[in-house]
Amino acid sequence: MYIRGCTMREITYVEALNEALREEMRRDERVIVMGEDVQLGYSGRGGLFLVTADLMREFGPERVRDTPISEEGFVGAAIGAAITGLKPVVEIMYADFLLCCMNQIVNVAAKLRYSTGGQLKVPIVIRTMIGQGRGVGSDHSQVPIAWFMNVPGLKVVAPSTPYDAKGLLKSAIRDESPIIFFESFLLYRTKGFVPTEEYIVPLGEADVKRKGTDLTIVAISTMVPCALSAAKKLKEEFNIDAEVIDPRTLVPLDKKTIINSVMKTNRLIIVESGVKTCGVGAEIASIVAEETFDYLDAPIKRVAAPHIPAPASPALEQLTIPSENDIIRAVREILQG
């Protein structure tokens, strides 16, 4: 395949992340990887989901470090390493386990630069996975993206395609602020095209995944493929032309792309797989209401998870993750209104 002057290859989301880590580790010897099972994992190649595959083989155990199950301790250590010359990429196996190191992330990493009057920088990337969608239950399926958006000093990234995953992880590693990088189990095996040549995706730039004129759907992480298939159906079955935007970076948020789109379509739906209350959608809806209220022709709608812990049973879990139909229903509601 050939797009805009570069050859493209089709790879999975996991492979994209793995390539980003490898390229950045080759490029900058300050980059190290640490976390549980990153050296070997089930396959012996590295990582439970192969994101760190073959890194230990290439870079050795000093730069690719298995840690004990001490999230607070090794995230704190990564912060200490970051302020003294390294660029650690830390893996937190499930996003839920971020809670075990919330203190180091929120009270330390996010604050060091400010509280020291700019003396320190904290170039650390904390990669983690949203476990939702495979019946792993209440404390392995949370989507805590919005919690971290609430903390000044952190940047928050949540890519939805292999292209974005690779380009954004490379940018995140080169950035000098602490970054929480949300991956998603449901996206891990999805495929997409990435250039053969090196590229990055800058932080803070939303991507219009589908152009449209009738309404704007802002979709987050796992929900982007779902929103795109909903948009396709809406076009085919109802002749509704939805624009789908993936912010890709939640902090800093590319408000402009979202606002420009809403000014054009006059309608907005936000889709996320996390809980609706105080979620990402609540924030984006507020921004749009504050800044472009006059352009809205219909109430803003949020499609999100209900206020329920994730059940283990598949019959119940699927009710807690928004579906294509939920999106289609919400769209038809605001277009009929």
């Binding site: 004990p68 250590a77 200490g80 003294t84 650690p88 330390v108 509280s115 003396q119």
Partner: protein, 332 residues
């Protein structure tokens, strides 16, 4: 207790270089006089927030930092003025920081509990109890990977030794054999809770055994004893022999913070007893007994220190507050 200083007061012990002893005396006095002035500033309403003084504990910060180079890393605590002074933070920048001024070492953004001065290796002071230990482990990891022969030192209290951070950090430093020195300032209390009520072991250094690293308890009011035990730990760390836990038994003769009279949970007798063990008086007696300094010399040092402290406080008082238009600087 007091073994080293007693031995030293007698004979047979290797004499420390007198310049070093004078430096340690001067630094301890600087800390004491500085904190006394800070307390006055607090009473005048010139200091925002919480202020925790280390009066009585000066020998720990000074005995430890006497072993360190400027490029060695230190992580301090909420009770961190003494640590900062011992590590070389200029008094005026420290005072200005405590008063929330733009000329402070953190431009007034950190305040009393979060002093950092990277130029002299003071990375941060952590007011979330225990939080500093993993940071020091990370600094140690970075030293190891960058192959410099720096060391990382973390100060923390007896209370902090009951946090998960303490245990995770000691384990990490041990398995990775990092050049980290953990300095526990055991002043017997975490606010009002006596260490016996909160802690499973007699000596906090006993916990080193669980992590397979050397652990020592030392009289934390004996600056020479602290200096010597830390010197060995620093040598081990620089030689790639891994971390050490050192517990310095000491006492804060003031309240926990400037809002605490410090008498509801301990007896006046206990406080008086520890005042008699003042680390500064002890070194002063030693210096005189060994003919290193005369009363006159000591008095001269005293007035020089007072003048420096006065200047620093004046500088802080006269310095401007940060400008409102810069409130959003340094977030990212």
């Amino acid at each position: 207790m007091y073994k080293l200083l007693r031995e030293a007061e007698g004979e047979g012990l290797e004499r420390l270089h007198s310049d070093l002893l004078i430096w340690m005396y001067t630094k301890m006095l600087e800390i004491r006089r500085f904190e006394e002035k800070i307390e006055e500033e607090y009473r005048k309403g010139l200091i925002p927030g919480l202020v925790h003084l280390s009066i009585g504990q000066e020998a720990v910060a000074v005995g430890v930092c006497a072993n360190l180079r400027d490029d060695d890393y230190v992580i301090g605590t909420h009770r961190g003025h003494g640590i900062a002074i011992a590590k070389g933070v200029p008094l005026d920048k420290l005072a200005a920081e405590i008063l929330g001024k733009e000329t402070g070492c953190c431009k007034g953004r950190g305040g009393s509990m979060r002093v950092a001065y990277v130029d002299k290796g003071l990375l941060y002071s952590c007011p979330i109890v225990g939080t500093g230990l993993p940071l020091a482990v990370g600094a140690g990891l970075s030293i190891k990977l960058r192959k410099t022969n720096q060391v990382a030192v973390c100060f923390f209290g007896d209370g902090a030794s009951n946090t998960g951070d303490f245990h995770e950090a000691l384990n990490l430093a041990s398995i990775w054999r990092l050049p980290v020195i953990f300095i526990c300032e055991n002043n017997m209390y975490a606010i009002s809770v006596h260490v016996k009520k909160s802690t499973s072991v007699e000596n906090i250094s006993d916990r080193a055994r669980g992590y397979n690293i050397p652990g020592f308890t030392v009289d934390g009011n004996d600056v020479i004893a602290v200096y010597k035990i830390v010197r060995e730990a620093v040598q081990r760390a620089r030689n790639g022999e891994g971390p050490t836990l050192i517990e310095c038994k000491t006492y804060r003769i003031v309240g926990h913070g400037t809002t605490d009279p410090g008498i509801a949970y301990r007896t006046i007798e206990e406080i008086e007893e520890w005042k008699r063990k003042c680390p500064i008086d002890r070194l002063r007696r030693y210096l005189i007994a060994n003919g290193i300094l005369s009363e006159e010399d000591l008095n001269r040092i005293g007035s020089e220190v007072e003048a420096r402290v006065r200047e620093a406080i004046k500088f802080a008082e006269e310095s401007p507050y940060p400008s409102p238009d810069q409130v959003a600087e340094y977030v990212y």
